[in-house]
Symmetry: D2
Subunit: 134 residues, 4 copies
Amino acid sequence: MIKNDHVIKIYYRDVDQMGIVYYSRYLEYFEEARTELLVSLGLDVPSIEKEGVKLPVVTSHCDYKKGARLEEELRIETFIDKTPKATLLINYKISNNSSGEINVTGYTKHAFIDNESHPIRVPNFIKDKLAKYF
Amino acid sequence: MIKNDHVIKIYYRDVDQMGIVYYSRYLEYFEEARTELLVSLGLDVPSIEKEGVKLPVVTSHCDYKKGARLEEELRIETFIDKTPKATLLINYKISNNSSGEINVTGYTKHAFIDNESHPIRVPNFIKDKLAKYF
Amino acid sequence: MIKNDHVIKIYYRDVDQMGIVYYSRYLEYFEEARTELLVSLGLDVPSIEKEGVKLPVVTSHCDYKKGARLEEELRIETFIDKTPKATLLINYKISNNSSGEINVTGYTKHAFIDNESHPIRVPNFIKDKLAKYF
Amino acid sequence: MIKNDHVIKIYYRDVDQMGIVYYSRYLEYFEEARTELLVSLGLDVPSIEKEGVKLPVVTSHCDYKKGARLEEELRIETFIDKTPKATLLINYKISNNSSGEINVTGYTKHAFIDNESHPIRVPNFIKDKLAKYF
């Protein structure tokens, strides 16, 4: 398994009229957290794109358990549980960084495409980076 | 079945470095479209909240089929297929308004809560508005 | 003078914990409105970019008069008062579409650059489109 | 003078089709940075609001010097240069955290209002926190 922890803080821009984080913001947090996971593997987005590869999201899913509020710190745990085949599955758990109470869980699924947007197999340079974890 | 169609247009703010709509924006489009569906039923958000009721999202799900591009017009079809029980399920299909090609499908699930954030049964004023469609 | 009117509606995604539109959203509304003004002149963004020209924002300014609330309809009036020289100045007035009460006024200033991001003079195809209004 | 430095990183969500940060995002960065400045003074937003005070933005201004790109780190320097009278003026300078090259400068002006949205004088608890810096 590959795992990364990333902590963020909630600002006014994130919070809606109910006083809780607006539901689409969690997909932005997911993106931030998986970027940091990929960076920790030596797979920052510019490096991946320099190889002519993109990882577009093909599915996103969020289960909202508890609204997060202004100035809370959230821990985003990001997991890759298995070697990608046609797609890469990334799981997320977002919880309050003090209490541990869970706010959101979810996942994203990513395809591998080339510069002409054609689906491709998992590129070797990505496979190599992931191999040692499984 | 309850169904509403809503057309939007894509602007620069929506589009990322790949030249396609950033993935979290679709949840904003879903919100806009379901608001219009609810308005068409006489259930605008301020009216619902005046009754002391909120419909927080408990799940969101998107399947991304094809990236939408700058200045495209998108048709968002919003469906309620069945009477809500504990939760209300709303389905979405987003497609190019000219070609009909599908960009995104997805759904959101909503709980009913009162002002103290306690889960409640489907309120009668909502049941009544939906009843004639099923 | 060139003038365009554009009406938008406020959704949950736009509104913060104070119950009013979050301040950066107005820059998105400005972009939507100036895009529609430019489209009305035959200057949609893809057409401009096809000519190898971009109009990056070099300055933005907003004066916030009155917070706009959920489900309000806002009228965005967009003005070009004078022929662009080095930069194009666009003015905005956002008001409640029923009462006429002003929410926000502001402006954006745009440079003209080529594909290598070098500043260029106002391109002729843009000058021609604007000429008849001044 | 009061000054705070805050570093952020640019993610995909922030970047538009030109490959640079979309112009409204800087107002979100300003908000994040001024929140951290206020926190450093013991003036976090929930504390201020608990006193029945809000600091709505009445003016925002940005000068965009150079587009910031994906995965760049930006340093946001936030300044309060003088004691607030009717309004509080906050200045910002955003630059590349490695090269020091400036991306954006700007300011926001904030009013003081009570819970009924009436303008009020600078509250004493805020004056006291700021006094020692001037």
